[in-house]
């Protein structure tokens, strides 16, 4: 087994959650790397969709933005953005919406809008973009982000995208028929919502990660599943694919910068 970073473990664990039959709406950043690693390893036929309108894209390098030329060049087709949100997302075709977050709470609610008060923010974040409707209309939602006390908070400052709200059947009470967040993959482990309360509970720790580390990086009292597994470490091929991808990406973006 090769050495690997926590970041690599996160990306590879997230990639493993995707299957060949998924139609995945890809958020930029961590989700994009995970989705493309899945495509380049065990899920060559996965359909990746970016909100720029590119459907079935297969970029050779990771895009810097959700609308890089490579996405269109390799897509099955590229549609207008209104169509993307109306036919493809709202139309119910997305099996997995893959999101990142700035702030996250234990019920998978996401804030990417502001730190502090909305009218007088301490930090004005980019805003929701596609996420509010990705969170509501995808059949299920995977979230990936690094754990930190700043990010994993007891109470998010703004409900940009609804996860399980206050937990339990809150989604159903709002009329949602989709599953919401079903998986959270971090640099330290894998979390799944409790079937009843919908609170994220740790189901797997990445190799070498302790329960104490999980708690130190999270702003609420962490619950662990009855049986916590150890995440299978990155395989040789997984690591090779991810590192090749990252290297090609760095070279491409630097090449353009030269």
């Amino acid at each position: 087994m090769t050495d690997f970073t926590a970041d690599e473990m996160m990306t590879i664990a997230a990639a493993r959650a995707l299957s060949n039959d998924d139609v995945c709406f890809v958020g930029i950043g961590a989700p994009s790397a995970a989705c493309n690693v899945a495509r380049l390893t065990h899920a060559p036929d996965i359909t990746l969709i970016y909100e720029s309108g590119t459907i079935g894209t297969a970029p050779d390098v990771l895009p810097l933005s959700i609308g890089d030329g490579e996405l269109c060049d390799t897509a099955v087709t590229t549609v207008p953005v209104p169509e993307m949100f109306r036919y493809w997302l709202q139309g119910g075709w997305i099996t997995v919406g893959f999101l990142g977050a700035a702030q996250l709470d234990r019920f998978g609610n996401i804030n990417t809008t502001v730190v502090g008060d909305y009218a007088h923010p301490k930090v004005r974040l980019p805003g929701g973009g596609g996420a509010p409707e990705i969170a509501a209309s995808s059949r299920e939602v995977f979230i990936t982000m690094k754990q930190s006390r700043r990010g994993f908070v007891e109470k998010i400052d703004f409900f940009t995208s609804f996860g399980h709200g206050e937990g339990g059947d809150h989604r159903q009470r709002l009329g949602m028929t989709t599953k919401g967040p079903t998986l959270l993959i971090t640099d330290l482990g894998v979390w799944k919502p409790d079937p009843e309360s919908k609170e994220f509970t740790v189901t797997s720790l990445h190799p070498g990660v302790t329960r104490a580390q999980m708690q130190e990086t999270v702003g609420w009292t962490v619950r662990f599943s009855a049986e916590v597994e150890e995440t299978e470490p990155p395989g040789t091929e997984e690591l090779a694919v991810l590192r090749d991808l990252k290297e090609r990406t760095a070279r491409a973006h630097q090449g353009e910068a030269a």
Partner: protein, 284 residues
Amino acid sequence: MARHMPLAEAVGTFLKPGGTAAFEGFTHLIPHAAAHEVIRQDIGDLTLVRMTPDLIYDQMIGMGLAKKLVFSYAGNPGVGLLRRLRDAVENGWPRPLEIEEHSHAAMANAYEAGAAGLPCAMFRGYLGAQLAEVNPNIRHIVCPFTGEKLAAVPAIRPDVTFIHAQKADRKGNVLIEGIVGVQKEAVLAAENAIVTVEEVVDDLDAHPNACILPHWTVDAVCTVPGGAHPSYAHGHYARDNADYLAWDRIAADRDTFRAWMTDNVLDAQPGVFAERVADLEVVA
């Protein structure tokens, strides 16, 4: 009815202080040259509309031209936050900025409704999302058949929409290819539309179902090769990612920002864009 004219004339003719302007482009084909011309002409008190305000909105806001921003995602794509926008929202510099914030789905539907001549858009959205509490322009419609409560937002109808496209023909028919975003909707929804293009050709030579704006939907066509830089034009030149990365540093400081704007915008002309993409050209 489209007229071919210099960019400075088009901007001066159609955009008035206090107007509502949309500069659309979804990462691809962002009308940088047009925004720079607006900055040079110092047309202020604008309401700026865009799904993804990025560098050019950071620039217009930083230069004090915007009184209000209607948007759904304000970031430097793949890089980070918009520092001039943050300075305006957090510190009111150089002037306070009113914001009307939506989701992408809402903005895309609102442009679609504008293009479709409807007063509002209806979609399944904002479920459990807090924006609905802080934005009075998010309302509801009840389906008269099922009773489902759907979201409604007003149609977007800019006074002027600016886009960049690959080609126009002599009559002013405009071809957009690749990631087409909401540009067609933004043009059809607008009172007036100004299109900068890479080139003017005799024949668009397009696929039967290509995205083409007929000449009578466009008011001005301005030939500005490279006019999307550092964004890109599918089939013409690649995205200048280095410039996007550099912007984060330039915009971090008010003085650095002003100096850069003076050198690269105020003292420049549309012709500089062709030089900027010279090394980025792609083989068609």
